[in-house]
Symmetry: D3
Subunit: 194 residues, 6 copies
């Protein structure tokens, strides 16, 4: 179980609302390679992971991704705080405002509600951990795209950079966990069934 601690993993203070940025950042909340997908993937995979070290890594990172989900939601919230319906519409958020107002809904930037088809749980330690490596790379790539689109707001970019760095750390940790699993399986560098 989890205990809530009333602080963000990394502080967020956006000086000026900017719904244009919220429009794309929401993808890391509920998009295919976002923090919800990541957290749900890792916290689900751990049930079927026979390797105790890999299980602990999944638990840790899955829990951290919940904190990231909260950070991304906070970003979206602050960027749309007090923004009028007309300003929302001007940046292309008319459809979003229609169905979600100035709330935070788990969807991709394109408007697709979160769909767990974006993640896999295979009940196979090597497949699951390789999926996790891919997930971290996809999240990193998404943060880099977001940094491209948000580069005129240093407060936002600063948070996105932090989140991007964490994905790289997670990638390394999943790589090590996979090596550990493969060592035990005697399956050196991804080679299955020599």
């Amino acid at each position: 179980m989890w205990n809530y601690s009333k602080m963000l993993q990394y502080p967020i203070k956006i000086k000026c609302p900017n719904p244009r940025l919220a429009k794309v950042i929401i993808s890391q909340y509920g998009g295919p390679d976002g923090e919800l997908a990541a957290s749900l993937r890792y916290l689900s995979q751990r049930f079927g992971m026979p390797d105790q070290n890999a299980k602990a890594v999944l638990n840790d990172i899955g829990t951290e991704e919940l904190a990231h989900l909260e950070m991304v939601g906070t970003l979206v919230k602050q960027l749309t705080d007090g923004v009028s319906p007309m300003e929302m519409e001007k940046v292309g958020l008319g459809p979003y405002y229609t169905d979600h107002g100035n709330g935070v809904y788990p969807q991709s930037a394109a408007g697709m509600p979160f769909n767990a088809t974006a993640l896999a749980v295979k009940g196979d330690p090597v497949a699951d951990l390789t999926e996790d490596l891919a997930a971290e790379q996809k999240a990193r790539a998404t943060y880099e795209k977001l940094i491209d689109l948000c580069k005129d707001d240093p407060d936002v970019v600063n948070v996105l950079r932090y989140l991007r760095e964490r994905e790289i750390v997670h990638f390394q940790r999943f790589g090590e966990a996979l090596n550990g699993v493969q060592d035990k399986l005697a399956q050196k560098k991804f080679y299955i069934n020599k």
Copy 2:
């Protein structure tokens, strides 16, 4: 952010695997009215909730639903632990085994991956809290259906009853939060059950 505490909210010790029960219980993991939907709904709605008390309730219950998600995942895991492919298939879990092995994947009992279309965030406090009342009733009803289907295994029923009771408590708390919001808004016309 959240801290993980290595214990379940309520203990689960299934004596005999029984994949027939896992097959339906998975719906409270990733189905339309399950714990993931609940947690995601409440933790997302809180960003746009102007009422501080209602926000705190959303945060609390959203966090507790994460613990329930973990409990339901644990139930599914214990009920399928060590179950052979053929036994999985015999109870209709052949398709599940094909794509998820003996892992825990966020889907409905019918096999639909979790889809956030099942939950709403409207950025409207009365609509959001009424949605939450409905969510708790739907979760309660689902647990009652599951109790009907699992009644030959008291260990399972015991856990399902606990979870069902919590939904009723949540329903009451959301009802009080809604009353609080309505009192402030003095929008008596939206008042449920005069």
Copy 3:
């Protein structure tokens, strides 16, 4: 069965096409909290509703929502009537025009085809009627958002206000139906707002 009567429940005469408004109003045609979802929810729930009064309410309101679906479709049609492809594109309807021309397709404003995951039928009278209360609140909230976005066109706002008012009436009727069911069940513990 139903007989068609060649008139709208409430007259609609839009003087000037305005595809910008059609773009968001379509969400009440095929979006998650729109009239199709409402009608389908009520007309489906009635089959499993043991309470005869609640069943009649579901039937009545489900039928009225069909009339609202027609009204919303008419709004969308009149607002895009004779609008050129380039004008459609200018307001962000290029993707819509690509796949649906100037037709009326059941989708959310964000472009998601209607998906019945947005509605629940639980075969439980209390859960179903609480779902209906939430549905009416969500529809009301959506009409309020649309009124915000359409406020420069009084012909449109007038229709949206009418539809919004009907949702409030439906909310009251479902509240009474739920009270009736609960009185019969004497299930005071599920009673909303004692």
Copy 4:
């Protein structure tokens, strides 16, 4: 708008519940080629149909499909009426019972909630009417498959045969409407079967 008339288009009196048949028949309620898809397709297409005769045909048949939707829902209801949870599970309806009890939910037999991706509105009279011809053929084929699966229950087969016959009539009417449209357009090159 529509007025409800408290009778089925064709009488349904199932003598014995048989959930095994309900399990597959539900596909004509909310499946990809079912009555909901049909009704929604025709009632939506009519807004963008420039040809007045074709528009009237869409309106008529769309309204009749609503009556068929009600008939199919009634079939499902009668076939599962009073069926116990265990009997539901025995025929593979455990997942359905979990999320919908003995209610009627708009889904395919495979358990997919209704999704409007299954239907097209192109804002092009020839494309829309050809889509309708295909829809009627697909519905006919589905009824034939259902008749194969239900052949041991003459009460059910009788209703399915009636519905199947109506699809063939609709197919003819859409064919005539398409001919009418093509004659006006003098677009002989799109003419089917010279």
Copy 5:
């Protein structure tokens, strides 16, 4: 099986990137009536097609649609080649850039990932071939909408016209195949346009 031949079915040389056009053209890559849907529909239907001639037609056209899929992907690629993130965003491709960069992803213009609900395989030769006739009409209509939206770029229009023409040819071939099947079945009652 298939052998790849390193040339497009029809040459594509876009002189100037124009992401505004890519934004809508992507629908023929992964949208409901696009080339992927077409190819997948025909190549899947052929397995269940008892008529040898119809099977060969499905195989031929299904293979040609793969070539069209490649052409549409090439169009999208050339129209976004080297386009900066800000230019992508300016034409409404910010969400696309966020999740797919300047890559080619199988989605509709509205941003929906490709979903096979858009196509039918009924295991019924008449239904399947009528579905194919509709598919070709819908693809034709989509190309006509795209030509409307792209008319200021003759290089693009030229390719779209070629693809549109092919759909008409396919429509004729499917019409002949359907006639062949019907002749054999002597099922005159399903005959379109006697």
Copy 6:
């Protein structure tokens, strides 16, 4: 473009129909980690792949996966050839028969139509190739699950083993392609398994 060659990549001759096996094998046709997902992923990613060697690998393997898609469809076809509706239903294929007869439809074993949410195109060479490594591991794991479920039919297992082996070869090739990309990028920090 592609040329069709009228032979399977690997011969398939199933002596006895066995719909029980078809029921699960279909997941490699249209399931989340199946051959369609693989082919579509690689053939789409190649458009945005700047590295010429990686692009060629994507093209080759994407084309080979089309051949595997055909093989899996052939397996499903042969395993259900001439199987009666009742026999289909007996193994749990009643819903499948209802909507697809004895045809081959792109869905998962659980009955979900293929959805491209299962694959990613990020327009980032490292993320895309890591996604491909994961895809191959997930496909391998799925074939292993299928071999578990089909082990009583050596003809089927033989084909599944062949397909499984090809995934391992693809995994190696994608690993080498990723190494090549990383060498050029000198992004050692993303290097998997130093």
